[in-house]
């Protein structure tokens, strides 16, 4: 019991890094998700193809390799510094999950019944007004559960930043293990516990989101 407490105390030092990276990268991913998702629906072929390229590249390659690209390769190739490790971690996770979320956004907007668009036209709404007042409010309800699911995945994805020497929960777990090999099973059990407890409120919110999304949508 005491061993668990000691481990927890040590892991707790990485808690804020994990949480802050989750929040920042989730916000970035939501923003990118909306921008790229709506761009994908644009009538402008260039914008459409360009975002399509972004989405397929980031969905089609691994997050950890993208992280290493931003951390090791890009600074060497182009001589640009992308900022602190924290910033690089946030950008990598944000870009990667933004690509997934943009498909959720696109799919939800397309899933709104076409009769809704026709009613908006019959009320003489502009394309913008139609999106703003009719389509998006319904599409967002449909997106909520998927946004919840991807946020839970993002939480787990943050563990990768320990590989670019950010001191998150897993980072402290690894340090503990290296100085105390025999405790490895217990250490990683507590690490799992940490992630699970962090995920609980997100799981709960996702459930709530599913209830909300069942109401108030035409399809």
């Amino acid at each position: 019991m005491e061993a668990i407490l000691n481990i927890s105390q040590e892991l707790g030092r990485g808690l804020w890094v994990t949480i802050s990276i989750l929040i920042a990268s989730a916000l970035l991913a939501y923003l990118i998700g909306f921008i790229a998702g709506l761009s994908r629906l644009s009538k402008n072929i260039f914008i459409q193809k360009f975002t399509g390229l972004y989405i397929e590249i980031f969905r089609g390659t691994s997050l950890i390799v993208q992280l290493f690209w931003l951390y090791y390769a890009i600074p060497m190739l182009f001589g640009i510094n992308l900022g602190s490790n924290w910033v690089i971690g946030v950008i990598a996770i944000g870009l990667n999950y933004g690509a997934y979320l943009s498909e959720v956004v696109r799919g939800s907007v397309e899933a709104v019944d076409s009769g809704q668009t026709e009613a908006a036209v019959a009320l003489n709404m502009s394309s913008y007004q139609k999106m703003r007042y009719i389509i998006l409010p319904q599409a967002v309800r449909m997106m909520l559960p998927e946004f919840g699911n991807y946020t839970i995945q993002m939480l787990k994805g943050t563990a990768l930043v320990s590989l670019i020497s950010l001191s998150d929960i897993l980072y402290y777990g690894n340090i503990l293990r290296s100085s105390n090999l025999s405790q490895a099973p217990l250490i990683y059990l507590v690490v799992l516990g940490f992630y699970f407890i962090l995920a609980l409120p997100l799981i709960f919110l996702t459930r709530k989101a599913e209830d909300v999304s069942k109401k108030g949508v035409a399809n």
Binding site: A119, L123, N124, M125, S126, P137
Partner: protein
């Protein structure tokens, strides 16, 4: 003689290889009530959808109040209309759909208020009052804060009519508005349309399968068959006294 508010001039419409409308000529006068009847697939709905700017004609012109709906002048040439041009004209036109198409995330009062406020920029208080009056007129004054999902089909369709009327259109289009309703709910919806037809001076075009109803309210009935207006005249001319065998065959299906 008054001038027509809408003129169709040799309007054609194809979907892919299929020509649905093969040259429609039609005048709609202010306050005129027109019923369009005919077999399904004959293009009835397409006629009014083109006026609502939901479908673009393949050829021909639709003139609304002297202005070409689907074409506009640009650098001295007639080109395809853009959204701005369409919006400047279609504000005078309202439509009620077969499947209601109410906005499910808004109360029925909000359904009525959103367009006058957000599209026409009208005063909120005034619009609210007008919307409530309109919902009372269609018999839903006690349901204004309900959501569409809490209403029956007939009630939904009455909300849809109130929503269109609050915009004060000069022309109202009704696309088979009772076809998706349970039979016992058809009456309440027709009653509202009858009330509008008798008391409002806007033009109305109804695509309908309700023959008795068409006979009752329509000034003019069009029988559409295979993409052309096969018969045109007063309601009793077409529905009661037509000698056209296609019309008789069609109508016989309603008299059993």
């Amino acid at each position: 003689m008054t001038k027509p508010i809408v003129e169709y001039k040799d309007v054609h419409k194809s979907f892919g290889e299929t020509e649905v409308l093969k040259g429609i000529d039609l005048d709609i006068f202010p306050a005129e009530k027109i019923a369009i009847i005919g077999p399904s697939g004959s293009g009835k709905t397409t006629i009014i959808r083109m006026l609502m700017t939901l479908e673009e004609p393949t050829a021909g012109d639709i003139i609304v109040d002297g202005r070409n709906l689907w074409k506009m002048k640009k650098h001295g040439k007639m080109v395809e209309a853009d959204e701005k041009h369409l919006r400047s004209i279609r504000g005078d036109i309202g439509m009620v759909f077969q499947h209601f198409n109410l906005f499910p995330h808004m109360t029925i009062l909000e359904n009525c208020m959103t367009a006058p406020i957000n599209v026409k920029g009208e005063n909120k208080k005034e619009v609210e009052q007008r919307s409530i009056e309109m919902l009372e007129r269609v018999g839903l004054g006690d349901k204004i804060h309900n959501f569409p999902s809490q209403l029956s089909g007939g009630q939904k369709q009455r909300v849809a009519m109130a929503r269109a009327l609050v915009m004060r259109p000069k022309i109202m289009l009704f696309d088979e508005v009772t076809s998706a309703l349970d039979p016992e709910l058809v009456g309440e919806v027709l009653e509202v349309i009858r009330d509008i037809a008798k008391n409002d001076d806007m033009a109305m075009v109804l695509v309908t399968h309700e023959m008795d109803f068409a006979l009752d309210i329509a000034d003019k009935v069009l029988f559409l068959d295979d993409g052309v207006i096969a018969e045109e005249g007063t309601a009793s001319d077409v529905i009661e006294h037509s000698e056209n065998p296609r019309v008789q065959e069609f109508l016989s299906r309603f008299r059993s």
